[in-house]
Symmetry: C2
Subunit: 314 residues, 2 copies
C-alpha cells in the first residue's frame, strides 16, 4: 500500500529535498508551504501542494488524520534573528510543534513523526565529540525553542504514545540553500559569495570546528526516523562524516568554485553573543540503532552543490 506523508515546510531547504525523495520513493506526499515555492517547482505535479500556514490548527486537523508519517519541518531559522524577533520564533518553532502534536493526539496516534532539532540545543559544548546525553544550555531563543520542541515530542511520546523520533542536526548544506529567506546556511552564503567573486568572510579566524552534513545524508536519516522500528522515543545526533574548521570549509568552497578568496573579519557583536565555539557530534547512536552513517564528504558535497548552482550563476 502506498504510504502517505505530510511535509510541513516543503518550500524550505530541508523540506524540499525530503519531498523530492519521498516522491521518488513512491510515497503519496502532501506538502504544505507558505507560498508556491521555487525549490519544489520540479515536483509540484507529483504531490499535493497545500498553500497555507503550517501552524494553522484547522488545516492540520484536516490533513493529519490520513497520514502514515508527518514531517514538521516548517519553522524559522536563525539564532541571531531569534534574539531580535523572539515572539515570531516562538510562534513558528515552539507553538508550531505543539500544534502538530495536538493534531496527532486528537486525530492520529499511529502516525510516525520526526522532530528536526538542532545541535544548538547543546549551547557551548564542553566535551567532544558531543554525545546525546551532554547537557543542553542554549545561548539563543532559537535554541531554547528547539530544546522545548524536543521536550514536547518526548512528552507526547511518553504520555500519548506518539511515535516520534528527535534529531539534533548539526550544520546542513546542499543545493538550494542559497536563498534570501535563509538566515542560516553558512555554506550556501559562502558559495554565493565565491560565485560572485566576492570575499568569503570568516569571523575571528574561523577556527571553530564543525561537522557539516550533506542534505542527502540528512534525508536518509529523516526517512529512517519515520520507518525504523527502533526510532520512536529516541534522540539522535545528525552530523557529517568529518570534522573541519569554518576556515577549511571556506577554503574548500573557494577551491570548488574557482573564484573569491577567504578573508578574516572580527566577530560582529550579535553573532559573537550566540556563537557556541566548536561543535561536532558523536554519531555512534544513530549508527548503532538505525544503521545510519553519513556518506558524503565535504568536497564531494560542495562539488555537487556547486554543480546545481553553475547554470544559474555563470
Amino acid at each position: 500500500m502506498t504510504r502517505r506523508a505530510l511535509v510541513l515546510g516543503a518550500g524550505g531547504f530541508l523540506g524540499s529535498h525530503l519531498s523530492r525523495r519521498l516522491v521518488r520513493d513512491g510515497w503519496d506526499v502532501t506538502a504544505v508551504a507558505r507560498r508556491p515555492a521555487d525549490r519544489i517547482v520540479d515536483i509540484v505535479g507529483d504531490l499535493r501542494l497545500v498553500t497555507g500556514d503550517a501552524t494553522d490548527r484547522a488545516l492540520l486537523d484536516r490533513l493529519v488524520p490520513a497520514m502514515d508519517a508527518v514531517f514538521p519541518l516548517a519553522g524559522r531559522s536563525g539564532a541571531t534573528r531569534s534574539m531580535d524577533e523572539p515572539l515570531a520564533d516562538a510562534a513558528a518553532n515552539a507553538m508550531g510543534q505543539l500544534v502538530v502534536l495536538e493534531a496527532l493526539r486528537h486525530h492520529n496516534r499511529d502516525a510516525r513523526v520526526v522532530f528536526p532539532g538542532s545541535r544548538l540545543q547543546y549551547g557551548r559544548p564542553m566535551v567532544f565529540p558531543v554525545r546525546e546525553d551532554h547537557p543542553q544550555q542554549p545561548t539563543s531563543v532559537y535554541a531554547l525553542h528547539k530544546m522545548l520542541g524536543e521536550q514536547y515530542h518526548l512528552l507526547y511520546a511518553e504520555r500519548h504514545g506518539i511515535a516520534t523520533c528527535c534529531l539534533r542536526i548539526s550544520n546542513p548544506y546542499g543545493p538550494a540553500q542559497d536563498r534570501p529567506d535563509q538566515a542560516f546556511g553558512v555554506v550556501g552564503t559562502f558559495l554565493a559569495r565565491a560565485a560572485a567573486g566576492e570575499d568569503v568572510a570568516v569571523f575571528g579566524g574561523g577556527r571553530q570546528r564543525r561537522d557539516y552534513v550533506y542534505v542527502d545524508d540528512l534525508v536518509d536519516l529523516l526517512l529512517l526516523a519515520v520507518t525504523h522500528p527502533a526510532a520512536p522515543g529516541e534522540v539522535f545526533n545528525a552530523g557529517g562524516p568529518t570534522v573541519t574548521t569554518v576556515r577549511e570549509m571556506a577554503e574548500a568552497v573557494v577551491r570548488v568554485v574557482g573564484r573569491g578568496r577567504v578573508v578574516d573579519v572580527p566577530w560582529p557583536d550579535a553573532e559573537a553573543a550566540v556563537e557556541t565555539g566548536d561543535y561536532f557530534g558523536d554519531l555512534r547512536r544513530s549508527r548503532d540503532v538505525l544503521g545510519w552513517v553519513p556518506q558524503i564528504e565535504l568536497d564531494e558535497g560542495l562539488a555537487a552543490t556547486w554543480a546545481t548552482l553553475t547554470p544559474a550563476l555563470t
Copy 2:
C-alpha cells in the same frame, strides 16, 4: 521617592496577596487583572486597576516603561489541566513571560523583575532536599513552560541586562486560595471540603512529602527578589519551613476546621501521570544570599487561612 510596581495577574492568589502588601508598604501599584477580581476588592481604591490581558503587547508597552519593579504573576495553573489544554498553557505561561521580557528589553531595562517558577520544573526528584542545581525533568506541559519561562528570564538577564530573579515555588497556600478558578491549591481544596463536612480525599495514602509555604512568607521573598542587590540573575527555591506528608497536611486541615475526615482513594490516571513523588527543597541559597527564611509553620498558616474563611462558611 515612591516606588512603582506593576503586578500582572493581580486577581490571582499570589498576585492579590502581593498587591495588598505593596500597597501597605507604600508602593505605587498598577495591577492588571482579567476581570474585576473578588480577591482585591478591599484594596481597589488604593491602586490603579487595569482590566486587561497580561499577554497584550500593546498594554505592556504602555505600562512597563514607568515601573521600578515588574511582577509577571499572570498565568494558568494546573499540571493536569496543561496536558489537556497545552496551547492555552503555552499562551499564558510561556508567551506571557516572553511578552513581558520583550517590553522590558524595548522600554525599560532598569526595572527589577521576578519570575514565579515552580518546583515542578524538577520533575521527579532523585536527591533530597532538592538543590537548585538538581536536573530539571518536567513531567507535564505546565512544568515545561515554567522551565522555559525561567530560561527566557535568565537569557534576558545575561544578554540584555534585565535584572530578573527566578524562584522555584513549592506548594503555596493561604487565604483566598479556595476559588473555583484554581486548578491547583490542594490546601485550599482540602479546607473547603473539610468546611463543608465532606471527605478530604488523599491519593494513594498521601505519603508524598511536601514543604508547604504560607503565602505571606512567599510575598516576603517576592519583595526581596526585586529589591535585594544580590538577587538579579539568580535562581532560588521557595519552600516552607517544614517537611510534611500530604496525609499529615490533610489531617491538620481536619483538626483546624473541626469537621470532615481524611479518606484514601486510588490515584486517578491523569493525576498519577503528572505526579512527581516527594518534593522538598533545599532553602540554603535563599537564606544565605537573600536572608530569607520562611517563618510560618503549617498549623499556624492553616489556622490563619481558616480564620479568613470562617465568616463566609459558617
